[in-house]
């Protein structure tokens, strides 16, 4: 049976059976999705919590279920959740029907739905429900579970309670069929694959009639305790499972007898008093914080510090067990030194056990973590996206901990939370610690570039290049800064130097060709195009050149050839898009003549340049020069198709810089009839540059037109894919004005600050809206910019603090009340 790579959805994955099944499915290589409520505890899933895809959904809420099903798109569903309001059959049935509706709508590729009959007294009703689901076309099979037991069971449930030390004075007289958890998990896996089960209910039990008294007797015998409490009086109902159907239909038979199962449970409980079995089994080398293990004989001969460096080496090499053993040995030899516990913390963090890591760090010194350990904890907390905690720790470690990694970590965290000055200060310290290395300057240049501080970025890179003159990557980085700054000849000099150092590097070769094309150096461009290129790349750039020359027919054919060579993926998408652009350009009407001067301000679309409008494309064709407010090569390549000069004018959020950028464009307009300033999204939504240009054009008598484009508010709801209510409309709000939002409509919230101000804005949002209200956060840039993060208002602070400065929030409309009227009221 192969579940490898299959999309499976598990409900009830944080429960006893569901968690065991989810872990097993992960081990099978399945792509495991789980439903989780905000209150779901990750404890039972342990390390697996971080390996599954979690969808916030509640069986009581159709909307969240539908959304989860749509996102998970499961082939297989294992439904083990119970309705949290209670376990009556009616509630279970209602929850099941809600899930059925969600799967019908959102899981078109569903192959099998394995559901669970929890309530034996309602067996007849449950069979009817299963029949109803099957009749509705759902590939459902039901497993009727008998008394499931095993490690991970709730301590108050029988027989775990007895193993945990409870002494029941009264036991049920009913006949029980105890079935071990591993056997149950195996049954679910078989039910996922066996053919022809639709509509059937299959009992899963051992077929052996046992009683609670027998189980207690076994446990007492194992523990060496005498006697057993008497079974309760009264009718002794119940029956064991009929194992025939499971054997016949699934090929399943129980493998663990009650005695064996209880013994396994007792062993697991004795070894692991407070954590999930799986994590312990996976990571026995983690151990308990504060426990000082004795060194192994083989380790005694090694010096303690060679042990810890060995642990670090093993850790880096991925041999976590060996690293754990070395760290244990080190702790045994030097129990007072912090390095051992820190290594154990790193190991725990590596497997996603944050609580364990925190415990080890806390236990690293007699009165808490030393300052250098605080730097480690700060690094880990940043990784866990606990930026408040990370900043506290890093700040505390700052005075005393100046090693390169600690300084680099602080710089990285400060940069991520928008504290750029502090990040740069740390990198200055790093320069002192690593005087011969170009690394601190290269990092600082990246931060300056992000802030559009080109002179500073270039100064850093000049230093870095002096330190490592043979490093082609540094030359390329400096070329890029020149490119963004708008100095194409300087960018070309650097890329030529990088090419001389690394002539085989494809990125450097393409940068070099791009610059030749943009600088209209036809001879050099043609010469480079004659060189050997990987399949499709040469055709692409030749098509590009033909488009610049307005030879659209040839260009279209070359892009088609490049597309065919590119197969699937982003390059093929780009080729197909360029081919289409050339088609639209070839059919464009002639540009209207310019009366006087005209400046166009346009966005290339949030998903640029794909969302460019036809009007903007036609307008670009009639311009004499472009001023691009975007610095990435995607935009440069796209604008380069039109064969007119382009300058990059980039600023970051400060009015002074927008004025400087506007000045560049206005100066150029002295000699131009029609120019275009291009931005990303809607230029007049938080567009200081557009605002400044409009003002300046008005003052100089230059006609100015803003061409509409797809803004983030137009785009975000289609990314989220959530349509609610019957009302058509939208609200867009600044974070400074969140009053009186009409919650019949979706709301898009813009303009988040950085650092602590952002946290304050988040608190305001949390005061305005209910904590369980779902919302989506979209990063404004970076790798995740097209992947909205689903969260709730209550959990927004964590999501917001790690989001891009240009993050945007979408709050979908609430569903309308059924009695919502449509009568007019007075204003």
């Amino acid at each position: 049976m192969s579940l490898t790579g299959r999309r499976v959805l598990v409900t009830g994955a944080t429960g006893f059976i569901g968690s065991a099944l989810a872990r097993r499915l992960l081990k099978d290589g399945a792509d495991v999705h789980v439903l989780a409520r905000p209150t779901s505890s990750p404890d039972r899933l342990g390390a697996a919590w971080n390996r599954v895809t979690r969808h916030a959904a509640d069986l009581g809420d159709e909307r969240s279920l539908a959304e989860a099903a749509r996102r998970a798109r499961p082939e297989l569903v294992f439904h083990l959740a119970k309705d949290r309001e209670g376990s009556s059959f009616e509630r279970e049935a209602a929850a099941t029907r809600r899930l059925a509706a969600a799967l019908k709508a959102g899981a078109p590729g569903l192959k099998r739905w394995i559901r669970t009959a929890h309530s034996a007294p309602s067996r007849g009703d449950d069979a009817a429900l299963a029949g109803e689901l099957a009749a509705a076309g759902l590939p459902v099979v039901t497993l009727e579970l008998f008394l499931v037991y095993g490690p991970g069971q709730d301590d108050h449930d029988f027989p775990a309670s007895v193993l945990a030390g409870a002494a029941p004075d009264r036991l049920s007289p009913a006949v029980k069929d105890f079935v071990y958890i591993d056997d149950v998990v195996a049954a679910y896996r078989l039910a996922a694959e066996a053919p022809g089960l639709e509509g059937l209910t299959i009992p899963i039990g051992t077929g052996q009639a046992r009683s609670e008294a027998e189980a207690v007797e076994i446990i007492r015998r194992m523990k060496g305790l005498p006697g057993a409490p008497a079974a309760g009086q009264g009718p002794s109902g119940g029956h064991p499972a009929d194992t025939g159907p499971a054997l016949r239909l699934l090929g399943w038979r129980p493998r663990v007898l009650l005695e064996q199962g209880l013994a396994r449970m007792a062993g697991a409980t004795a070894k692991r008093p407070d954590e999930g079995e799986e994590r312990r089994r996976m990571t026995p080398w983690l151990g308990e914080s504060g426990a000082r293990s004795k060194p192994r004989a083989s380790s005694r001969e090694r010096a303690p510090w060679s042990l810890i460096s060995g642990a670090a080496r093993n850790f880096q090499a991925g041999d976590l067990a060996a690293a754990g053993r070395d760290a244990d040995a080190f702790i045994g030899l030097l129990p007072g030194a912090a390095s051992g516990p820190v290594m154990k913390a790193l190991l725990a963090a590596h497997v996603g056990d944050r609580a364990g890591a925190e415990r080890w760090l806390e236990a690293s010194g007699p009165s808490g973590p030393a300052r250098w350990v605080l730097a480690v904890r700060g690094m880990l907390r940043a990784r866990w996206q606990d930026f408040d905690g990370a900043l506290r720790d890093l700040q505390a470690s700052r005075r005393s901990e100046g090693s390169a990694w600690a300084v680099a970590t602080r710089a990285d965290v400060y940069n991520r939370v928008g504290l750029y000055r502090r990040a740069l200060t740390e990198l200055k310290r790093m320069r002192r610690v690593m005087p011969g290395s170009p690394e601190p300057d290269s990092r600082a240049a990246a931060i300056h570039l992000e802030q559009a501080q080109y002179e500073e970025a270039l100064a850093c890179l000049d230093r870095a290049v002096r330190r490592a003159p043979r490093e082609a990557a540094l030359r390329r980085q400096r070329s890029r800064v020149h490119f963004v700054e708008g100095s194409l000849p300087a960018a070309r000099r650097d890329i030529e130097a990088a090419y001389a150092l690394a002539p085989q590097d494809l990125d450097i070769r393409q940068d070099r060709l791009r610059l030749c094309l943009l600088l209209d150096d036809h001879a050099a461009s043609e010469a480079q195009l004659r060189e050997a290129w990987p399949a499709g790349i040469g055709e692409f750039w030749r098509g590009y050149l033909r488009c610049r020359q307005r030879r659209y027919e040839e260009s279209r054919d070359l892009f088609a050839a490049a597309e065919a060579a590119a197969g699937d993926g982003p390059q093929a998408q780009r080729c197909a898009f360029y081919r289409f652009v050339v088609r639209v350009l070839a059919q464009a009407p002639p540009s209207p003549p310019v009366k006087g001067k005209e400046l166009l301000i346009m966005g290339l679309g949030y998903r640029h340049p794909y969302q460019l409008s036809v009007e903007a494309l036609w307008a670009l064709r009639g311009c004499e020069e472009f001023f691009s407010n975007l610095s990435d090569t995607t935009v440069a390549d796209f604008l380069g198709l039109f064969g007119v000069p382009m300058r990059t004018i980039v600023f970051r959020r400060t009015d002074g810089q927008s004025t400087a950028c506007a000045r560049i464009a206005m100066r150029a307009m002295k000699t131009l009839s029609r120019g275009a300033v291009t931005t990303r999204g809607q230029p007049n939504y938080y567009g200081r540059l557009a605002y400044r240009l409009v003002q300046d054009c008005a003052a100089r008598g230059i006609a100015c037109r803003i061409i509409p484009t797809v803004s983030i508010s137009d785009f975000l709801p289609s990314l989220v894919g959530r349509v609610e209510g019957a009302r058509l409309g939208l609200q867009i709000r600044d974070t400074n004005d969140l009053d009186r939002i009409d919650d019949r409509l979706p709301a898009v919230v813009y303009n988040f600050a950085s650092g602590s101000q952002r946290l304050a804005q988040c608190r305001r949002l949390q005061r305005e809206w209910a904590p369980d209200r779902p919302c989506w956060l979209l990063a404004g840039s970076g790798q995740l910019e097209y992947e909205p993060l689903e969260t709730t208002v209550g959990a927004l602070d964590r999501a917001l603090m790690t989001a891009d400065p240009a993050a945007t929030l979408l709050l979908p409309a609430r569903r309308p009340d059924p009695d919502e009227g449509s009568s007019l009221s007075n204003h």
Binding site: K104, A105, G106, P108, A576, V581, V584, G605, Y606, R607, P609, Y610, Q611, L612, S613, V614, E615, L617, Q682, P683, N684, Y685, Y686, G687, Y691, V694, Q695, C704, I707, P708, T709, V710, S711, S713, D714, P717, S718, L719, V723, R727, L728, G729, L730, I732, R733, D734, N736, D737, D742, R744, L745, Y750, N751, E820, G821, S823, L824, S825, N826, H827
Partner: protein, 214 residues
């Protein structure tokens, strides 16, 4: 590849149609489009293999079961087209894979064409945009201290008259609205004299002007 794609063509067709949407529609086996404007339809037909007028969302979904179906509507499909919304909901319900493409909304269109700004210290602090029908259901929801964008895909004079009557009462006498139609230039008129047309968008500036900072 999704079986159904849903695209908005913007307020002005073809100008506000995005290249991404047009490319996706060009790849479809059949495109349903509910625009009545002949010029716009003729232009779109030049890029589509087959252009049809939709009978209903259900009919589109039925055809989409085979795949290769596109739906092109006015404006932004999730904010301004009832057909697009009904089709999206029906697709979700029927389990038909679909994708909605971002499009220029009536809000974005009039904000750009009217050279209005959204942005804290130099523009408005927010925008509220309603289809006429939605605002009619609760005119109290609208605020006069934020710009109000009103739109209707199909002109219903009675609905416009009803909503304008409410708005006239809420705004100061002589307060001007700015009307943007699918073709032609912007027209300005005091609210009682505003004459909406098919596929038009009305921008009513707020009572207080936005912050102007230099």
């Amino acid at each position: 590849m999704e079986k159904l794609i849903i695209c908005g063509l913007g307020v002005r067709v073809p100008e506000e149609t995005t290249l991404e949407s047009l490319q996706a529609l060009a790849d479809c086996r059949v495109v349903y489009c509910d625009l009545t404007d002949k010029k716009a339809r003729a232009w779109l037909a030049g890029y589509c293999r087959e252009l049809k007028t939709p009978a209903s969302a259900e009919a589109i979904i039925k055809d989409a079961a085979v795949g290769g179906v596109g739906l092109a509507v006015w404006g932004q499909p999730q904010f301004s087209s009832r057909l697009a919304r009904a089709t999206e909901l029906a697709a979700a319900k029927a389990g038909v894979s679909y994708r909605v493409f971002g499009a220029i909304s009536p809000i974005g269109s009039v904000f750009a064409r009217s050279v209005s700004f959204l942005g804290g210290d130099y523009g408005y602090q927010g925008i509220q945009a309603y289809s006429v029908e939605t605002l009619l259901a609760d005119p109290k929801a609208a605020r006069t201290d934020l710009p109000l964008v009103l739109y209707a895909e199909v002109n219903d004079p009675a609905q416009w008259a009803a909503v304008l009557e409410r708005l006239v009462a809420a705004y100061p006498k002589g307060h001007e609205g700015r009307m943007f139609s699918a073709r032609g230039p912007e027209t300005r008129a005091p609210l009682p004299e505003t004459k909406p047309s098919d596929s038009c968008v009305l921008l009513i500036p707020p009572v207080d002007a936005p912050v102007q900072r230099r």
